[in-house]
Every structure is written in structure tokens, then in C-alpha cells.
């Protein structure tokens, strides 16, 4: 049993009652909702004759279904329009704030809650979306839930939960230039597997983690769920506090000092006990790319697609399926694999620092002929900041499309999708079969800088071979 960890402290503070089934009833400090997983929950609430227990602890936005070209209402897709109208009606009926299109605060739910200062250390955060683990970057205990649980939180501001074990992932050293939090987390999932984290909360700690910015920590925690860990977190520190200070919903005035004192007290202490610990060396990690159909099928960009003999016997069946689906030959190098579509965005990598890293590669270069590349900011605020810096112009001049905020091609719930057997270089988080909207479409996950490198070369490229300030290089293809 873990003890003295941030997870334990936050858990104890939020306990409401022990339930007959053996689960603990846990208070939820922040409930985030969006248009996809909430309509049925509100309908169930109405059927039960219940109201929303804490509408002021519930915050809504719209992200999954919004088009990223024209966001004029009504949407061209009547189903998408109906989903948004339903969310608007439910929020109005229950007194819930909705950060809607054009409000300046709309965006992917896991991008806006942190940037508005809603997500804070020591909170429990729930949302009907598995990438809620993102908010753990602040030292919150944050996890994705299903629609019945959305109903439960709406009705009772609490959830029936079983306590997880805590595994500390201790990362030594520093990430090398050209290597990002995305590469780190893809590497971790490669080593521990997509099921490795089942039953665990992941505490990310060590010098390499402390050196990460908040946006990088969000990328890392975002993908904890892809490693099977329902939540992942980083202990709050000076980086966390500096990020939060002055944000619209962050504490201010006299509250601020008290808040920082409390937040600081939550971090896992030197005497904390973990159920398990795994160590990594950040310096040894290369830019990482997935070649298969699970986020665990990643390799360094300088490596080759593994052969069955190189894999554990239990990984071979899914690898065989991946070779067929991806149309890749075991033993072939991944670098140089041509791509059709390049997507920069999502709750994993749609923040300002991600766009900056990609723009540094795109600047002065051109998207390779035949490649479709586009950039989708994670929120209206990210879009505004990027435009103020001129990043939109950098991308446009390089031949990228610059879009409106939303989930876009992370999943196929809006008009952005792959066609047929197209292969994408994507900064999103899932390379499952069919994830990007075509049942035969293929996805290579990588960092935003690597996606930009793939866009200008027309093929998977080690971003470390492209200098960010170099004069325009002729596109290969």
C-alpha cells in the first residue's frame, strides 16, 4: 500500500463515505463536461428526477464534434448541431457555465481547464473522457469516467471509486534537443506496455520531470491512460505555481499565498511509500514514433520495425496484426516511410509550446508535394497567442492549413479524417485501427516537431537532422 504520496493525501481528503460494494465515495472537485458524453447523463438525471448537485463545480465546453474550418452555426452536419444544441440547453437548464464557440475560452476540454486556472493541485478532477489524466500535471488526481459516472457526478458531485496502487516513474537526466515529453511518454509506454499501468496511478518524478514545463507535463500525463494508468500526476512545484498565477480561476489576493502553502504540502514526501518504482534515463531516449496499432508499438526514429523474434511472445499476435494493417515489413527502418497527411493538434500536443516547436521546423521550409498538412490549435486562447506571435503566418507560408480549435483529426467525429489507406504523421495520442476516421487509415504518433519534419520531407524524418534555423531545404520526395 502506498503511503504519504500525493495520491494518498488527495484521496483521504476527498473521502465521503465507504459504500456497500467496498468502493469509496470520493468528492469530485472539478467536473468537466463536453457534448459527447454528457447528453445521455443529463437525460438519465431527468429520468431520476435529480438536479445537478454543484453546478458551480461543473464546467462545459465543446470540442469533439466542432468543425475546424467554418464554425458558423448551424453546423453543416445536423447531428453535430444537435449535440451542441443539446449541451447548450442542458447547461442553461442547470446553471452550468459553457465556454462556447467564440467566447475566447472554447477549446479542447483538457486544454482549456488548465489555461483558465480551473485545474489546480490537490483537486479531484473527473470528465467523461479518458484523457482527463492530463490534469494530473498539476498534482490533481484526475481520471476519465463513463457516461453513467457523469450522471453520478452531476447528481452527487461524487463517484464510487476503488483506490489505485501508486507506481513512481523516476526519470533521471535530461531530454536531449529534439526530444520532447511526447517522446518520453511514448518511450515509457513502449517499455511498460499498454497494460503496464492497469491498477496504478503513475507518479512521474525525478530530475527530468522537474525540468519539464507545465505544457510538457500535460503531454506526459495525458498519455498515462495509453499506458493503462487511469491517472498520472506530477507533484506541484514552483513551475506549477508560476503557471497558475494570474489565471482567471486561480486563487488571487490573500488566497494565493495560502493556496501555495497548501499545494506545497501535498507533494509526496521523502518518506512516501510506493507500491512499485521503475527508473528511466531521459538522456537515452530518441525521438519516438509508433509503427503499429497501439501506442505501445513505438520505436526510436533511428530504429527499424521490430521483427517477431525481437518481441516478447505475448506481443507477437498484435504485432502480426500491425504489420498487416500498417503494411510494414519487419526489420524495415521507420525513417523514410512516406506519409500522406500531417496533423498537429489534440489535447496531447495542441498547446502553444507544441505549435512553437513545430513552427521552428516549418519556418522557411515547404510542405512536401502531395502531403496535406494542417495545424489545429487546442483552444481559442492558444490560437490567439499563436497568431499574436505570427505562428499562423509561418505555417501558412510553409503550406500548412491553419484551422479553428477543436479535437479535429484526433478522432473521427468531425469533418477532419483520413481517406482510405492514407497514412498520417500525427501529434495525437491514439493509433488504433480506424481512429482517424477511415477503417483502413493508418496513424504514426510522434511529437509536433517530428510531424512538422515529416511534413516538409514527405516522410518520417529524424527532427534532429533538421536545424530549426536552417535556410530552406529542398523537399525530398
Amino acid at each position: 500500500m502506498s503511503a504519504g504520496t500525493l495520491y494518498d493525501k488527495v484521496w483521504d481528503l476527498h473521502r465521503v463515505a465507504e459504500l456497500p460494494g467496498g468502493a469509496t465515495q470520493l468528492f469530485i472537485g472539478l467536473h468537466l463536461i463536453h457534448e459527447v458524453t454528457s447528453p445521455q447523463a443529463f437525460a438519465a438525471l431527468r429520468d431520476l428526477g435529480l438536479s445537478v448537485r454543484h453546478p458551480e463545480r461543473t464546467v462545459a465546453t465543446v470540442d469533439h464534434i466542432v468543425p475546424t474550418t467554418s464554425q458558423a452555426r448551424p453546423f453543416a452536419d445536423p447531428l453535430a448541431e444537435e449535440m451542441l444544441a443539446t449541451l447548450e440547453a442542458n447547461c442553461a437548464a442547470h446553471g452550468i457555465v459553457l465556454h462556447g464557440l467564440g467566447s475566447g475560452r472554447q477549446g479542447i476540454v483538457h486544454v482549456i481547464a488548465p489555461e483558465l486556472g480551473l485545474t489546480q493541485p490537490g483537486m479531484t478532477v473527473a470528465c467523461g473522457d479518458s484523457h482527463t489524466s492530463t490534469h494530473g500535471a498539476f498534482g490533481a488526481i484526475a481520471f476519465g469516467i463513463g457516461t453513467s459516472q457523469v450522471r453520478d457526478v452531476l447528481a452527487s458531485q461524487s463517484l464510487a471509486m476503488n483506490k489505485l496502487k501508486v507506481r513512481r516513474l523516476w526519470v533521471e537526466g535530461r531530454l536531449q534537443p529534439g526530444v520532447y515529453a511526447k517522446d518520453l511518454v511514448l518511450h515509457i509506454i513502449r517499455v511498460l506496455g499498454v497494460r503496464g499501468g492497469v491498477g496504478y496511478a503513475y507518479e512521474f518524478a525525478g530530475p527530468a520531470i522537474e525540468a519539464l514545463s507545465m505544457e510538457e507535463r500535460m503531454t506526459l500525463c495525458n498519455m498515462a491512460i495509453e499506458g493503462g494508468a487511469r491517472c498520472g500526476y506530477v507533484n506541484p512545484d514552483a513551475t506549477t505555481f508560476a503557471y497558475l498565477r494570474g489565471r482567471p480561476f486561480a486563487p488571487s489576493g490573500d488566497d494565493w499565498e495560502r493556496a501555495v502553502a497548501w499545494w506545497s504540502s501535498l507533494a509526496s514526501g521523502a518518506d512516501a511509500v510506493f507500491d512499485d518504482e521503475v527508473r528511466f534515463d531521459a538522456a537515452a531516449i530518441a525521438p519516438t514514433v509508433t509503427w503499429g496499432i497501439t501506442p505501445g508499438q513505438g520505436i526510436g526514429v533511428d530504429e527499424a520495425v521490430p521483427t517477431p523474434e525481437q518481441l516478447d511472445p505475448e506481443e507477437r499476435p498484435i504485432a502480426e496484426e500491425a504489420y498487416r494493417y500498417m503494411d510494414l515489413v519487419p526489420g524495415a527502418p521507420i525513417a523514410g516511410l512516406p506519409v500522406d497527411v500531417c496533423f498537429i493538434g489534440s489535447c496531447t500536443n495542441g498547446r502553444l509550446s507544441d505549435l512553437r516547436a513545430a513552427a521552428a521546423i516549418a519556418r522557411g521550409r515547404q510542405v512536401a508535394p502531395g502531403v496535406r498538412a494542417f495545424v489545429v490549435p487546442g483552444s481559442e486562447q492558444v490560437a490567439a497567442e499563436a497568431e499574436a506571435e505570427g505562428l499562423d503566418a509561418v505555417f501558412r507560408q510553409a503550406g500548412f492549413e491553419w484551422r479553428e480549435p477543436g479535437c479535429s483529426m484526433c478522432l473521427a467525429m468531425n469533418p477532419d479524417r483520413l481517406e482510405g489507406r492514407q497514412i498520417s504523421a500525427s501529434s495525437s495520442n491514439r493509433n488504433f485501427k480506424g481512429r482517424q476516421g477511415s477503417s483502413t487509415g493508418r496513424t504514426l504518433l510522434m511529437s509536433p516537431a517530428m510531424v512538422a519534419a515529416a511534413a516538409v520531407r514527405g516522410a518520417v524524418t529524424d527532427v534532429r537532422t533538421l536545424s530549426p534555423t536552417e535556410v530552406p531545404a529542398p523537399a525530398l520526395r
Partner: protein, 211 residues
């Protein structure tokens, strides 16, 4: 698809034919592709179950095979239901007619979503799962009898002989299903005064004054 009523009240045992669905890491995008999530009710979801896998297999997917029509138990391998938290996945399976799932292991969110619908996800030893899948494939007409109190599954087949395997379910979910208390909302709502007390001691709801 089957026309069984949705689960209600205690879930103590289930009898029905089964569908073996072989493969590890079958994620919720495969169970219900994202385009089917564009809906404001769960009603029409059954037809989306495994839609892309079924198209790919052109009629050969277990969900399309005549011998499994009307089956109500799914027998899967490891990490079933991983990926997206979408409750549309268990909803699609429930609306297809699935009332219980047996597998080597389940993704946690999927397990919880199923429990909230009164659909048990039971784990079994990989060897036993393989035996069960083979036995069902050999005699798809045979009925399974799932006993949630004894935690066992029996296959009643004239061809492959009767067989019984142990299955596992944590005591909490087992109690919730067997007692009919798997609809957790009412339990949570009942603790309203405790909830108020918890809120009163949370620093971030009280001006951080309680440090």
C-alpha cells in the same frame, strides 16, 4: 442481436449462448467506431457494434455469423475495452444483446461502465478462456450457465461434453451485482450530509483557510 430485456435488479446468474471474440487489446474504437458517437441517445447503437471490423471481415465476424445470432455472452481475451472511456461501447454491446462478458482481463473504465449497466465482466485464467472459446467454436449452440455467486461458468454441450471453469470477480462488484445495488447513483445521493461535510473541509472550497 437479441431482444433480452436490459438488466434490472439482482444479477445472480445468466444463461445463454456465447460468442468467442479472439484477440488482445480490443479497444473501444473497435467496439463502437467514433462516428457512431454522434448521437444524443444510446438507442440506435447496436448496429454500430464492431462496425468496421465487421465490414473488414465481410460477414465472417462473429457478430455476423448465423450460429451466434441471439447469443448473450461474449468471451474475450486480454485488456478488452481499452482506449476511449466511451460508455457507448458497453451500451452498444448491451443493445446488441450482450449480458455478460468473460475474458482474461478488462480495461478498468470499461469494466466500471459495464458494472453500471448491470453487465458483469468476469475474468478467467487464459488457459480456461482459450478452452471456453474453443468449446464454443466447436458447438456454438451450447448454452453457458454463469453463476455469479459460485463464480463459475458451465458449458452445457452435447458435443464437447459438460465443462465447468472458475471465473473471478472482485468481492465489491460481486456484492453490487448479486444484491442488485449496481446502480450506484442512489447510494451516492443518499450520503448528502457526508458530502457536505467533505466539501466543508476542502481547502480549495474554503478560501484555502484550513491549511
Amino acid at each position: 442481436m437479441s431482444s433480452l430485456p436490459f438488466p434490472a435488479g439482482p444479477v445472480i446468474a445468466h444463461r445463454g449462448r456465447a460468442i468467442p471474440l479472439v484477440g488482445a487489446d480490443i479497444d473501444t474504437d473497435r467496439i463502437i467506431p467514433a462516428r457512431f458517437l454522434k448521437c444524443v441517445t444510446f438507442e440506435g447503437l447496436a448496429e454500430g457494434a464492431f462496425a468496421d471490423d465487421r465490414t473488414e471481415l465481410a460477414g465472417a465476424h462473429p457478430f455476423d455469423r448465423d450460429e451466434h445470432r441471439g447469443a448473450s455472452v461474449l468471451v474475450v481475451n486480454s485488456n478488452f475495452g481499452c482506449g476511449s472511456s466511451r460508455e457507448h461501447a458497453p451500451q452498444a454491446l448491451m443493445r446488441w444483446g450482450i449480458r455478460a462478458v468473460i475474458g482474461e482481463s478488462f480495461a478498468e473504465i470499461f469494466f466500471g461502465n459495464c458494472l453500471a449497466l448491470g453487465i458483469p465482466c468476469l475474468t478467467a485464467d487464459p488457459v480456461h478462456v482459450a478452452e471456453l472459446q474453443q468449446a464454443i467454436a466447436a458447438d456454438p449452440g451450447a448454452e453457458l450457465y454463469l453463476d455469479l455467486e459460485a463464480l463459475a461458468v458451465e458449458l452445457e454441450s452435447e458435443f464437447v461434453g459438460a465443462n465447468r471453469w472458475p471465473v473471478q470477480l472482485a468481492p465489491g462488484p460481486q456484492r453490487m451485482l448479486v444484491s442488485g445495488q449496481w446502480d450506484g447513483t442512489s447510494q451516492l445521493v443518499a450520503h448528502d450530509s457526508e458530502l457536505t461535510a467533505t466539501a466543508a473541509r476542502l481547502p480549495y472550497l474554503n478560501g484555502f483557510a484550513l491549511v
